[in-house]
Point group: C2
Chain length 459, copies 2
């Protein structure tokens, strides 16, 4: 039975790609109000595809972009909730893209290695379509799915799933399921699949420092007038000490030590600074000096400025002292770190460093906690076997550095355990120019889901 | 005689303004290659006006924008060289301008106080025209000027007079003069004129730090990958200590202590933090803790970041770690500080703070030394008397925080003493949005020059 389903996926690959390309052409950038209409178009596109698959599907409004919700029940069978998102990251700097970000194409990177290039090729449209193509093959060959299914595709994941928690609360009755599936994570490498069992949390803030009431000529005012760029630089510099630790008081409260046996397993993976940082042109781990690279990216919290802007940044020289400067920055959280407490401590830390005659505005609130999924959940063992069968390699159980806000919301609101399986690769340039998704991820990803659906149907 | 000249300036004011407006409409931004043609148009405009005044004038090429040079000799009379510039600063951020920067208009700020609003209204088109209008009135009423005159208007002052020193050297023979006049400085306040006798030097650099070979997703790489924004923040934070002193080794070599009698005079001027910083919305002097505000802006060297850019700076959140970040910054020099030595020390200071797997590019070279003009030059006494007669107030002798590269070049290349008289005001927003020039500066500035020309003609 599964062989027929897998054979259909193989035979249908070109058509599957053209469906994905149609979706990728819609610039559904959720953070930018200019693309609000495109976000809705991307949502309508999924709704149409779900209806073609036999789902009863609709758009449902949130405070921002609509979610797409579709149901295809199967009485007597386990019920599964699948989650993905149709929104994508902004594309700037546009001049670094080798192809226009919303004109997807299939490129042969090297002999035998084809990739889909486009914004969203991996995150998350490509990943979502691996699942929907698996469903399509089940329907085409077996007349239906082996499980009951609810599909939820949201449009604000890239901006912290704004509006979704409230929507989940209001619609929790129609989201009942035995297990939730999320396809927004990565493989260990091109040959070895992975199941993600922990996710870092996130606190994101923008700090705007205002000094003089206008930009000043540094010749007239330099020396006496406060420079807000220097105020920001001091704040950012003070956030780390010379050993790479974050200096916010109480920041490490709730950060667990990784058990020795897990550390030993991680050591065995052979993730060195050279092989992790080498491909991105770096070689010296930037985090805490006494931690392995794999700890720095998986089990330790971080702080990174994501952007900074102030003064004259055009061509040539301008001797100006800016009136205003701003930075966006984020903390990745682990274990039991409390995003609200860290937000408060950070605000105090910033305010202490702003001179009396300047003002500061801190934008953003709240944040998401880190997530640890139960190792003993039955779906985990089933997915592990299905992935091993598809890839010929035992999947690795990993922690992910990024956060997927929905996972916490699922747990809090619906009580679901969530299974995180995805086929992204480290060089997919998710959130960067030239995002891509390997054709092997797309093709074998769909085959993997076909197998996982079969596995979840069995008791 | 002088009364007829002054009367002509009074009678001709409206026409003089319309001439200035014509010039201001040309967006001669020298730093931006997109405005290269406009720079040439602005040069042609001056050449035309000089010819209308009876000068033999031409454009002469430099390595960048052309200079305008005009001669009107008067055998037997002292010969004067007047310098100004036709180029202007960039106008960004454009959305902060109350009027389009190249559509000049006359606005009544408060009853009886009219100002010309436009980029270049003060710096330096408005200031240059005070001098040319004085010449026009002499010619209209007396048939000619009381002195021989060479006028040199360059087009790269706002970018450090690039190309001019070489041009001066190649054309020094036709620049011989008894004294040089520069109109690019300010008054003490709206009622009290000033003669500037010292100018701070300038070292300007851009620092580009490159870390990863592409922008990274902070969820995947955060903690292990070096963030170039943090590298820059550390460099900027390290440049000042907690007392406001600049930490570059040897930076204060050659900085003279101001003589006690001058300090006493400065104290008497009553320039407090409140009245200097209050109008720009500040109140706490940012410079060295143990120095008066007037020292911080006149006699002490400074270091200011003029711009910074890195990562995501658009609307909303993006969890990216930038591959590259950059800052522009400048040092203002005093006394005998050596711009080349400071440039070298700064470069070493930066390179020490760039991690081994990152690279840094430092753009810009050289710089200008600070200038101290001789207190005993005869032209100084003559200008002082002329200004006192016009304004009814003894002029103040001040140091200026900004640098005017030409003054050093004049001294080195031509051996000229230079008299710096100008009518700018502290709230002119030179280099900022909403630049303006008081109508009183324009009108009484022209009258002042008419008087100074008369004074310089006498032995």
């Amino acid at each position: 039975m599964i062989d027929r389903v897998l054979g259909d996926i193989d035979a249908d690959l070109d058509t599957a790609l053209s469906r994905l390309f149609d979706w990728l052409r819609i610039p559904s950038i959720s953070t930018d109000p200019a693309f609000k209409g495109d976000c809705r178009r991307a949502a309508e596109w999924v709704r149409g595809d779900l209806e073609a698959l036999g789902f009863e599907a609709r758009l449902s409004e949130t405070s921002l972009h609509p979610v797409v919700i579709g149901h295809l029940p199967k009485p007597g069978a386990p019920h599964v909730l699948f989650y993905g998102h149709y929104d994508v990251q902004p594309v700037d700097p546009l001049d670094l893209w080798e192809v226009p970000p919303f004109e997807p194409r299939l490129t042969e990177l090297q002999p035998g290695r084809k990739v889909v290039q486009a914004r969203g090729a991996c995150d998350d449209k490509g990943q979502v379509m691996t699942f929907l193509e698996a469903c399509r093959a089940w329907k085409a060959t077996e007349g239906g799915l082996p499980v009951g299914l609810t599909v939820l595709i949201e449009g604000a994941e890239e901006i912290g799933s704004r509006g979704l928690p409230e929507w989940l609360l209001a619609n929790k009755d129609e989201l009942r399921a035995d297990v939730a599936l999320v396809c927004d994570t990565g493989m260990w490498d091109r040959a070895v699949p992975a199941i993600t069992t922990s996710l870092r949390g996130l606190v994101y803030r923008e700090v705007v420092v205002r000094a003089a009431n206008r930009d000043l000529h540094s010749g007239s005012f330099g020396g006496a007038a406060r420079n807000p760029i220097h105020v920001l630089a001091r704040i950012l510099a003070d956030l780390h000490d010379s050993s790479g630790r974050i200096t916010l008081p109480g920041f490490y409260d709730g950060v667990p030590e990784t058990p020795p046996e897990i550390l030993a397993q991680w050591k065995g993976l052979g993730l060195t600074a050279e092989n992790f940082l080498g491909p991105i042109g770096l070689g010296v781990p930037a985090g805490e000096r006494d931690r392995m690279v794999i700890e720095q990216i998986q089990s330790r919290p971080t702080c990174d400025a994501n952007g900074i802007l102030g003064g004259y940044t055009g061509e040539g020289n301008k001797t100006v002292i800016a009136g205003t400067a701003s930075t966006k920055l984020s903390f990745r959280l682990v274990g039991d770190q409390d995003p609200d407490a860290i937000g408060r401590t950070f605000e105090a830390f910033v305010r202490e460093r702003v001179p009396a005659d300047c003002s500061v505005e801190i934008l953003g609130t709240g944040g998401s906690r880190a997530i640890q999924l139960p190792y003993g959940m039955p779906a985990l063992a089933k997915a592990r076997a299905a992935l091993a069968a598809e890839w010929g390699s035992e999947p690795v159980t990993i922690g992910a550095g990024g956060s997927i806000p929905i996972v916490g919301a699922f747990k809090r609101t619906l009580g679901h355990a969530t299974l995180l399986v995805g086929f992204g690769l480290e060089d997919d340039r998710v959130h960067s120019p030239n995002e891509k998704y390997d054709l092997s991820s797309f093709h074998k990803g769909a085959r993997s889901w076909a197998r996982i659906l079969e596995a979840l149907a069995t008791g």
